[in-house]
């Protein structure tokens, strides 16, 4: 369909504003006092904007701990996935194994497991291993469900790298590992970045396993902290919104910087 240029821009701007309005509202709530959150008539822009809510969060060492936990968990999962998925993506793209087709289908199927189905045995196994309420518990869990998509993404990306490169490396006398690290990996960087961001977002945002496998601030990630602020008897909405913004900022910043790779990597495999 084609529209006239001006009307396209008007529609796009209005549509985007509508979509962003909850996020804008989140910000406008975070810069007012909690008593003004529901005060009628509702002020769209608070009369006396202030950053009290942010200060309260920064002064709260528990909140700070939640951020640390989220970073440790999400970065560990990302590193493990990048390494394992790059290796497996190369393997699946270049070599034939017995039953490779089934391996790929199985990888796809694991994407369809209901998360709650896995939560029950994870809880029991992690508890019996003495890992309940630890970083390792969440790192293991998140790796298991970020990895399938990461592998498929890397395989699709490496399929698009010409095989002539492999052959040239072989003629030059490179072993397979040498070929992988110095010939295939550099041009795969956009794909790797896309996959790393996807994994990081997934691990940073997960909630179910975080409530099932953690108990207190020693390992609890930020998402659970946000959920718990809401469960309290009187909700400090301004703090909750400030925390939500602070918790989403890392993702939005990373996304804006490398979105070109990210969007490319995300769509390259499936749009064919």
């Amino acid at each position: 369909m084609k529209l006239k240029p001006l009307s396209i821009y008007v529609c796009l701007t209005l549509g985007t504003l509508l979509i962003l309005s909850p996020i804008i509202w989140m910000f406008l709530i975070s810069i007012r006092d909690n008593v003004d959150v529901f005060r009628l008539p509702l002020q769209i822009i608070p009369d006396e904007p202030n950053i009290q809510a942010y200060i309260q969060i920064f002064n709260n060492s528990d909140m700070f701990q939640l951020f640390i936990n989220s970073y440790i968990i999400a970065l560990s999962v990302t590193c493990i996935c990048v390494l394992f998925a790059a290796l497996a993506g190369f393997g699946l793209s270049r070599f034939s194994y017995k039953g490779k087709k089934y391996l790929v289908i199985y990888t796809l199927l694991t994407q369809m497991f209901p998360m709650v189905l896995l939560a029950i045995p994870y809880f029991l196994v992690i508890s019996s291993l003495g890992l309940y309420n630890s970083y390792i518990a969440l790192i293991i869990a998140y790796t298991s469900f970020a990895l399938p998509f990461a592998i498929l993404m890397m395989r699709d990306f490496m399929n698009s790298i010409p095989r002539e490169l492999d052959d040239a490396a072989k003629i030059d006398g490179c072993g397979l590992y040498r070929t992988f690290f110095s010939v295939i990996l550099p041009p795969s960087l956009p794909g790797l970045i896309a996959m790393a961001i996807y994994t990081f977002i997934l691990a940073w945002n997960e909630y179910l396993f975080a409530i099932v496998l953690t108990q207190n601030n020693n390992a609890r990630p930020l998402t659970v902290g946000i959920g718990m602020l809401m469960g309290e008897f009187t909700t400090e909405w301004n703090q909750l919104m400030a925390l939500s913004i602070l918790g989403s900022l890392p993702l939005i910043i990373v996304f804006l910087f490398i979105q070109r790779y990210f969007l490319q990597g995300l769509t390259s495999g499936s749009v064919k």
Partner: protein
């Protein structure tokens, strides 16, 4: 000679071994455990007793299971329909002849909701939909409502409230995929149709839509699968209430397992969920197998 072939094979396998062992260890073994647990009676938590398929029969006799199943289907079908429609509208808008920089600017900021965690999305929408929240204030001030509706604590509206939040969070992914598919349609095909006098609507339905059929099917299937297994958004926004009106299968499994500690019953429901998912998945996997061959 033979030794070097073996060595080469070992090296080749070493590439996929770490990832595959993680996948198998962390998915097949837990799956086996769930199936095993579903065959036990956990009434006496310390001593599970083997009970065969009793849990599977009990699930069918449980009235909340049927409510949860109905809600899950309603939630999934409505969410996915709205996600695809909203994604399509934004993809069409972004696919117009506009400045490339403007396009990528809008495309990336429309992606924001998709980046947020369920905890954040849930808390924003709980606030927006609360009795004196922004949505009610706008509806009352514009004269549509006489007084605010407590959307999420009213049995009649709660499910639609969570669907709204879910669509907001989910549509950018569909938009991205559909837009990418639109942009693979060769320009001259559309121009040729224009020269032949095809109207805009005709060009859209007869040329653009058939061209993106494949990706549309993939996105719809993926969205169906992802929405069907949603847990966190509903757990955060309503906890399944009020009076089970937003109870879906995954929240029900969670409560049965982690509050009632009835792991057998919960496992049986989750196995039913898996079977249901596999039915969706057949279409998807079939398309993939075709591509693999």
């Amino acid at each position: 000679m033979k030794k070097s072939i073996l060595k080469e094979r070992a090296i080749k396998i070493s590439f996929i071994l770490p990832a595959m062992s993680v996948l198998i260890l962390l998915t097949i073994y837990p799956l086996y455990l769930v199936i095993e647990m579903s065959l036990f009676d956990f009434q006496d938590y310390g001593n599970p007793v083997f009970s065969g398929i009793e849990n599977y029969i009990l699930v069918f006799k449980d009235s909340i299971f049927w409510i949860a199943l109905r809600n899950t289907l309603l939630f999934t079908i409505l969410s996915v329909t709205l996600v695809i429609i909203t994604g399509m509208i934004f993809a069409i808008l972004l696919n117009q002849k506009i400045n490339q920089k403007v396009r990528s600017f809008f495309r990336s900021i429309v992606m924001f909701p998709w980046l947020l965690s369920s905890a954040v999305v849930g808390s924003i929408w709980v606030l927006l939909l609360s009795p004196f929240g922004l949505v009610n204030v706008i509806l009352v001030n514009s004269g549509i409502l006489e007084s605010g509706i407590p959307w999420l604590s009213d049995e009649r509206f709660a499910l639609f409230g969570v669907i709204l939040a879910n669509v907001w969070r989910g549509f950018p992914f569909a938009m991205l995929m559909i837009l990418a598919a639109f942009q693979t349609i060769p320009e001259d095909t559309l121009e040729a149709a224009e020269v032949d006098g095809a109207t805009q609507l005709k060009r859209f339905f007869l040329i653009s839509l058939p061209q993106i059929k494949g990706i549309l099917l993939t996105v719809t299937t993926l969205e169906l699968i992802w929405t069907f297994r949603t847990f966190d958004l509903i757990y955060i926004m309503t906890g399944g209430g009020p009076v089970n009106s937003t109870e879906i299968l995954s929240t029900y499994v969670y409560f049965k397992a982690f509050q009632n500690l009835d792991f057998g019953f919960a496992s049986a429901i989750s196995i039913y969920m898996l079977i249901f998912m596999l039915i969706f998945a057949v279409f998807y996997v079939r398309a993939i197998i075709r591509r693999e061959d």
